[in-house]
Each structure stands twice: as structure tokens, then as C-alpha cells.
């Protein structure tokens, strides 16, 4: 973990309520895809944890959904604004455990970390295939980023307004894969967990206090004991997951 000041170099909407922010700063502690950063905002007491969408050569990119005061404030920040950011948080996806034919499955605002993961997998000679699920065609974002790096992308929408109608699990039968990496809302993770026999790594979300393991605010129970989503997660291996709720 590192605390440092980043400077916003781009901040623009991708859809009605999803924004892309790029900032320059010290990215040396961001060591794995699936990690997140924790951003301090003016007048708000707790930092805002956001997953890493992309990271290279001192440029950190995040994609965030506007859901409350903090993310609303973020949309108003102009280029040049300095931000106090904690980087290198969370375990991230373990590339060595990923199988030969990885499938990356993202739901909604769970899609962004899979882009950085796809780039990392391609760099180690793997060809990840992508499934991204949204509610409607209006909510779709990010597909072109995956296509630019040569990934095949299947889109699902709940209302059928684009791609496969239904949920990400409706797209699985048509794809040849032996391993799953996923990030999205918990009901999606649970459905995917049940729909596939493949091993995999699942990224979880929880309301956090500190984001670096000190407060025990985001603990969960796993097969291998209590884990802090922010420090021991957010990525859990499929075998570790205990569904409670």
C-alpha cells in the first residue's frame, strides 16, 4: 500500500452514470489486476474504494458508477485536480492459477477490473474470452476496450435490447473455457458459481471502513476462515467461498 497524490488527466462519462477517470501519479504499488485504490474526497470522511481499470507507466485509470455523494463529487472534478489516493489495495487475481482457456465474466460496474486482467493474461500468452452483462443496451460500456486488445466479447442484457437476452450465465454454453475470473454483483457471482463446473477466482464487494485491513469492517466467512474483503480479498478462489446471505 502506498499513499500518494495523483493528478486527474481525464474525466469523462461513458454512459449516463458511468465515468472514466485517468490520473497520473506513483503507480508502483499496483502489482496485480483486481486490486483497488481508495480515494479521499473533499468533505467526505471515508475514502471511496474503486477498482483499477488500467494501469501503466504512472497512469492509473478507473471506471466508476455514480451512486452517491462521493461519486457525484468525482464527476465534477476537472483535469488538474490533485487527489489523495491509497494504491495497491487488495490481493488481486492470481495469474498463475488461471487455466489455459480463461473466461472473464463481468457484471455492470464489475467489468472494469477484468480489462486490466485481460491485458495481464495476454502478456503471459493466454487468450481470455469475455462475457459482460448489463441490464439494458443503454448501460453497456467498455466493450470496445476489450475488442481493441483482441478479445472476443459476448454481451448479455437482461431486457434483450442487445446481445444475448438474459444473464451472463445464459452465454456460457456457447463458449469453450476451463477457468473463470469474475467480478460483479453478488447475485451474479452466486449464479455463475452454480452454473459452471470450472474453477475460478471471484471478486467480492463489501462496504469498507479503511480499505487496508485495519478496521474489520468488511469481514466475511470463508471455507478457510474469516477473511477481510479489502486485505485478504477482494478475490476469493471458488473453493473458498461460503454463501451466507
Amino acid at each position: 500500500m502506498k499513499q500518494s497524490i495523483f493528478t486527474i488527466i481525464e474525466n469523462r462519462p461513458l454512459t449516463d452514470c458511468v465515468w472514466l477517470m485517468r490520473m497520473s501519479g506513483d503507480t508502483s504499488d499496483i502489482t496485480a489486476a483486481g486490486q483497488f485504490v481508495n480515494i479521499q474526497l473533499d468533505g467526505l470522511y471515508l475514502r471511496r474504494p474503486i477498482s483499477v481499470f488500467d494501469c501503466e507507466d504512472g497512469i492509473l485509470s478507473i471506471i466508476y458508477k455514480v451512486v452517491g455523494k462521493g461519486t457525484e463529487q468525482m464527476t465534477t472534478l476537472p483535469v488538474g485536480t490533485p487527489l489523495d489516493v491509497l494504491t495497491g489495495l487488495g490481493n488481486g487475481y492470481n495469474l498463475e492459477k488461471v487455466g489455459k482457456k480463461p473466461l472473464l465474466v463481468g457484471g455492470g460496474v464489475g467489468v472494469p477490473p477484468l480489462y486490466y486482467l485481460a491485458k495481464k493474461l495476454i502478456a503471459c500468452g493466454k487468450r481470455p474470452e469475455i462475457v459482460v452483462g448489463f441490464n439494458t443496451a443503454q448501460e453497456i460500456f467498455g466493450v470496445e476496450f476489450f475488442e481493441e486488445i483482441g478479445c472476443k466479447v459476448t454481451v448479455t442484457t437482461v431486457d434483450g435490447s442487445r446481445g444475448v437476452k438474459g444473464f451472463v450465465t445464459n452465454a456460457l454454453d456457447a463458449i469453450d473455457y476451463d477457468y473463470v475470473c469474475t467480478c460483479g454483483p453478488e447475485p451474479m457471482l452466486k449464479a455463475l458459481y452454480r452454473a459452471t463446473e470450472a474453477k475460478g477466482q471471484y471478486s467480492f464487494e463489501e462496504r469498507m471502513g479503511c480499505g487496508f485491513g485495519a478496521c474489520m469492517g468488511c469481514s466475511c466467512k470463508t471455507v478457510t476462515g474469516y477473511k477481510r474483503i479489502c486485505k485478504d480479498g477482494p478475490i476469493l478462489e471458488k473453493e473458498e467461498i461460503l454463501w451466507e446471505k
Partner: protein
Amino acid sequence: MGKMNVNLCGIKLDNPIIPASGTFGFGYEFAELYDINCLGTFSFKGTTKDSRFGNPTPRIAECTQGMINAVGLQNPGVDKVISEELPKLYKVFNKKVMANISGFSVEDYAYTVEKLDSVDQIGWFEVNVSCPNVHGGGMSFGTNPEAAAEVTRAVRKVTKKPIIIKLSPNVTDIVAIAKACEEAGADGISLINTLLGMRIDLRTKRPVIANKMGGFSGPAIFPVAVRMVYQVAHAVNIPIVGMGGVSTAEDVIEMMLAGATAVEVGAANLVNPYACRDIINDLPRVMEKYGIENLSDIIGATE
């Protein structure tokens, strides 16, 4: 440069800054960020007889200038604290540490203190009779003078190390409880634990926190903490560890003027992991600004 050292229940602290229990784990995570030997000491994660997962999530809610937590004393239990957590701490911290313990019966408190008593690195026991997040325990011992005194007497019997009783602000008369603890043999009082609070989500119309209520901390509670430290300091003759929303070196001075011998920093660590180091580094500047030669001279200086 002025002198920052203070004496807490017979043990010298290089400075009065103590990360508060539950915001600093068992220290080793923060030791990856900075040399935690710069601290006066720190109070480790509240430890109970048996391991506890704590409350369901969400456990955290944001507030204006603060936060609510309902963690519920998650900890691995005293045996694992001794066998797994403290050995990691020895490697990164070479000062006496404050053992924060809690319980659900008088016997629990005595059991946990007795187990930890032989650990050489433990300098003080901070006995939490004030956790607002566990039912049928914790705070119920700290809301009644006689119950708080009973816990104090029970732990007094099993240790010769200094006992500091951590009090709840969620009471009508905190002075009566502090006096009862002093009479029962406490060596110090720490206060305040969190204020019982609640937030409601306007969209779902449900409490933000799964446990509905939780402990409110952060800068918003600082004036309440200063007031209670002042009241208790004027009523007892044992040292006070002041806490509640402390975030800056100025807050530390104010807390000491109110009567605190040492000062704990809690929620601030969760927002700025370097908060305690930053406060310690800033203290000499603030001392000079207010003409303070020795920090120990200002303890309780406000009439």
C-alpha cells in the same frame, strides 16, 4: 525542542500518542507503512476469551465528520492472540503494548486478563466495559457503577499490571462510573468509547448497518469527548487516557488540557493510515506555537 514524554501508570511513554483499539489491528499491518516504534504505545484489537466473527455486514456507515462501525469485537480469541498475533508484533514493536480485552461475564474478563498477564510485552490492560456492538455484554458492564466495579475487582485479582478501564459515553453519569472503578482498584480510566448511533438509507428505508446501530466515532464526537475527559479528570485521582475524534496535534493538546495523560487516536487511522505518525511529527511545532516546554506540564491545566 520541548519534551513529549509522559508517565502512564508508572510506565514512561516517549510521547502520549496511542492508536486506539480496533483501528490498528495487532500493529504489524501498519508496520509495513512506517516504523511504529515512534508511537507512545498502541492498544491492540479487542480480545475476548473465545474467537468471534462479530456482526453481519454491512458494518460501516459514513457520517458527517465521522463514521459508525458495528464490527462486534471480531478477534481470534485470547489463545490465538498469544500464539499467532503477538509473535508477529514482537518483530516490529519493541515497546510495551496495551492489551485491550473484553468479555461477556465477569469470569470472561478475569480469564482473558489472567491468560495475557504472563506476556512480558503487555504493559497495561485496557478493559473494555463499553463496546456498544455486542448484545448481553460489553457496554452493559460499563453503564452501571457497581457492575463496572465488579469487573475491575475481578481483573485486579489476576494481574499486577496497570488496569485501565475503558468507559462508555452512553450513560447518564460517567463520573459515578469512573469513581466506582477507581475505588475498585483501577489504575487509570480511558474514555470515551464510541457513541451509539444509527443511519438510515433513504432508498431502502432500512438501517445502513446490518446490526441497525453502531458506534459513532470521528472528529464529530471530539467536543463530547473533551467534556467527558474534563469531568472525569476533575473527579478521580488516577490518570486518564483521552480519546474520541482526535485527529490533529492541536486536538492532542486540547485533550491533555482537559485532563488526559495520554491520548488515543482511533477513526483517524482508518482514513489516513499515517495519522499517528503525522500527529507525532507535528506535535513539536504546535507545542512551540503555544509555548509548551513539557507536554506533561499541561495535563489537566484547564481549571
